[in-house]
Symmetry: C2
C-alpha cells in the first residue's frame, strides 16, 4: 500500500423525493443560480418542475442554460462562463448525467479565471477557486456527482480531455433512484459499463498489498453486475436502481484507489474514440476494456485470475491459472453483450481508418496506463484487437 | 434501502512518516494549539518528539494536556475546557487512540458552550459550534479519527455515554501504520474486535435490499480478520498494519451504514460493563457481541447464515440454514479466543452481581437495539449468556 491523502466532502443526499431538498441546500450559497441541463427528458418526467419549484420556494433567482449534449463541448462551457459573469451567478446546478455535470464544473472553473478555461485541461495552470456546484443526478454512470474530475471536448481539433482537481468536487449531490426509472435500457447499460470501468481502472494496479480496496472493488463490481441484470428486467425496481446509483458514486469517489495507483489507459483510449465518433462513453469502454485486458493480462496473470474468481465466480484452476484469467475476461465480454452493449468496434460501426490518428493523439503527452505503459504502437494493437 | 444523507469531510493523511505533516496542516487554523495525549507511550517511541518538532517548525505555540486514560472521564474534559478558554486555544490535537480523541472532541465541544458539556451527552441540547480538532492516530480501533461521535464517562455515577453530531468529525486524521508496530498483542486484538463490532452493528439490520453496503461490510470484516492474524504473528508487517488501520477508519466513518439502520445494542451493553469495570472496550465487545448474537439470531436466521458464509467461509447447508447461522457465531467466538480476547465475563473477571444495575442503566432511556428491541430483562439474559 502506498501513502495517500483522501478527502471527499461532497454531501450525498440519497433517496426518494430528495430533489425537493434542493432549494434549502442551494440558498446557503447565494441568491442567483445557473440551472444547467441537457435535453428535454428532465422536462418530460416532471423533474424540471419539481427542481424549479423547490428553488423558487426559497426565493432563488434562476438563469437557465439547457442543451448540453453527450460528450460536452467547450463552446457550451464558454457560453455558460459568459452568462455566469454577466448575471453574477452565485451557484451552478447541474441537473443531468456526467456530461451536464462536467460542463457545469468546467463553467464553474472558468468564471473566476482570467484566461481560457481549456488551459486547465492542457495542464498549463492550476485553478485557485471555483464557483460552487450542486448536482441532481439523472444518469448514474460517470461518478462525476462526487468526483474530482471532468471531461470536455474541444471542438477545435476534436480533443477530448479530462481534468482532475479537488476543487471539482460538487458541494452536494442529490441522488433519487426513482428518477432513473425512465432511463432506456441502452443508457442504463452504458452507465453500468462506465461505473464498472471506474472500478476496474483502479483494480488493475501494480501496487501490492491492497487487500481492503481489492475487496471493496470486488464488492462494488458484483453489486453493479447483479443489479444491472435486475434493472434491465424490471426498470422500476427501486432497490436495484438504488444499488446501481450508489455504486456509481462509490466507484469514482476515490475511496477505491486509496493506497493504490490505477491504470486509466482504457479511459484514455476510449476518449479518443468518443471524441472523434458519436458513441456513448460506456459503450466505448465495453469495447476497449476487454481488448485492453487481452493485450495486458500476461503482466499479472494472478490478478486477472483473482478478478475472474472473486468477481465472476470462475472456478480457480490450480493447474492452469491462465485459464482462469482468460475466463474472467470472457465473462466480462459476455456480460457486456448480454446487457446490450457493443463489444467490437465493428458492432459500434466505428471505422478502422483512424487507429493511427487516435493512438497518436492518445499518447501525445507520453505513454498511457500504469498497469502496463502503452506507447502509440500498443494502442494501435489494442484497437486492432477491438475490431 | 432507506433514504440517507452522507458526508464525511475528514481529510485522511495515510502512510509512512505522515505525522511530520502535522505542522503544515494545523497552521491553517491558528497559532495556539492544545496537544492532548494519554500516557507515556507516545514519548517512548519518538512520536511525541516528531509531532512537537513539526508543530514548532511552523511557529505554533503549544499547550500540553497529557494523562488521558482508557474510558476517558468528564473531569479531564473539564480540565481541558478550562485550559482552552484560559489560553485562547485555536486548535486541539489528539495524539492517541479513541479515548484521547473522544476526550479532545468533547473538550472542543465544551469550550464555546456556556453550559455543562455533559448536557450534550444527556441529550439536553445540541451544539452549534466546535473548536477544530486534528488527530494523530496511535491505536486503530475506535474509528473516532473520522467519526461523528465520542464516548465519555461521567465519574459522578459512573455513567458512560456516547454523543453523535456531524460537528464531531475531526478536520484531519494522520494515520501512520508504523506507529502501531509497538502496540501490544492484547491492545491490537482489542482494536480489531472494536472495529469488527462497528461493522457488525451496521451489518445486522432489519432494512432489506442493502446489497452494496452488505458486501462492503463483508469485505471490511474479512480484511480485518485476515490481517489481525498476520499482525499478531508479525507485529512489524507494514502491509497488514496498514490494512487494519484503514479498515478501522472505514468501519466507522458512516459509509457502511448508508441506506440502512444499525443495531448498536451490543455497544450500549458493553458501555455499561466498561463504565463500571476496568475492561478495554474491545474486550468487552468480544464478550457481549457473540452473546447478543446467540440471543437474537432467530429474528433473521438468513442474515446470520449469510454472515457465516460470506465472512467466515462456512459451508451453506441447504437443508439446515440455522446450522450455518450458528456456525458463524461459533467462528466469531473462536476468532476472538484465538487472538487472545476473553469471550466470557468470567474470563474477564467481571463479577455477576451487577447485571440488574447494568441492564437498568443501559435501558434507562428505553429499549436498546434496532435489530431486536431489548428491554431490561433482555439485557440481563444476554449478560447471563455472556457469563
Amino acid at each position: 500500500m502506498i501513502n495517500f491523502t483522501f478527502r471527499n466532502d461532497t454531501k450525498i443526499i440519497f433517496g426518494k423525493g430528495t430533489e425537493e431538498q434542493i432549494g434549502t441546500e442551494v440558498e446557503k450559497y447565494g441568491k442567483k443560480v445557473l440551472l444547467h441541463y441537457g435535453g428535454g427528458s428532465i422536462k418530460k418526467y416532471g423533474l424540471y418542475d419539481r427542481v424549479l419549484r423547490s428553488l423558487k420556494d426559497e426565493g432563488l433567482e434562476i438563469i437557465e442554460l439547457g442543451g448540453v449534449r453527450p460528450n460536452p463541448v467547450l463552446s457550451m462551457v464558454n457560453k455558460g462562463i459568459d452568462i455566469c459573469r454577466r448575471e453574477k451567478i452565485d451557484f451552478i446546478i447541474a441537473v443531468g448525467g456526467g456530461s451536464t455535470i462536467d460542463s457545469a464544473k468546467t463553467i464553474a472553473l472558468g468564471v473566476p479565471y482570467s484566461g481560457d478555461v481549456w488551459d486547465f485541461y492542457e495542464g498549463r495552470t492550476e485553478p485557485e477557486e471555483i464557483i460552487p456546484v450542486g448536482v441532481v443526478l439523472t444518469i448514474p454512470a460517470s461518478g462525476s456527482e462526487s468526483s474530482d474530475s471532468a471531461v470536455i471536448t474541444n471542438e477545435d481539433g476534436m480533443y477530448k480531455k479530462g481534468f482532475t482537481n479537488e476543487l471539482l468536487r460538487p458541494e452536494f449531490a442529490i441522488l433519487n433512484p426513482e428518477i432513473t426509472y425512465t432511463l432506456p435500457p441502452y443508457q442504463t447499460a452504458c452507465g453500468s459499463s462506465d461505473m464498472m470501468a471506474h472500478v476496474m481502472e483502479r483494480y488493475f494496479t501494480t501496487v501490492s498489498d491492497v487487500e481492503l480496496t481489492d475487496r471493496l472493488c470486488e464488492a462494488t463490481l458484483k453489486t453493479i453486475i447483479s443489479n444491472t441484470l435486475k434493472v434491465l428486467e424490471e426498470p422500476e425496481n427501486y432497490s436495484a436502481r438504488a444499488e446501481i446509483m450508489w455504486s456509481g458514486t462509490i466507484a469514482h469517489n476515490n475511496l477505491l484507489d486509496t493506497g493504490r495507483i490505477g491504470d486509466w489507459a482504457s479511459h484514455k483510449i476510449e476518449m479518443e474514440i468518443s471524441g472523434l465518433y458519436d458513441i456513448a462513453h460506456g459503450a466505448g469502454l465495453a469495447i476497449i476494456f476487454p481488448a485492453w485486458m487481452e493485450y495486458v493480462y500476461k503482466k499479472d496473470i494472478n490478478r486477472f485470475a483473482r478478478f475472474a474468481v472473486e468477481v465472476w465466480n470462475v472456478e480457480y484452476d490450480f493447474n492452469d491459472v491462465e485459464k482462469a484469467a482468460i475466463a474472467g475476461i470472457k465473462k466480462l465480454k459476455s456480460f457486456f453483450k448480454e446487457i446490450g452493449l457493443p463489444i467490437t468496434l465493428k458492432e459500434a460501426k466505428i471505422p478502422y481508418n483512424s487507429f493511427e490518428e487516435m493512438a497518436r493523439k492518445c499518447t501525445e503527452w507520453g505513454a498511457v496506463g500504469n498497469f502496463v505503459r502503452l506507447e502509440t504502437d500498443d494502442v494501435i494493437k489494442i484497437l486492432e484487437i477491438a475490431k
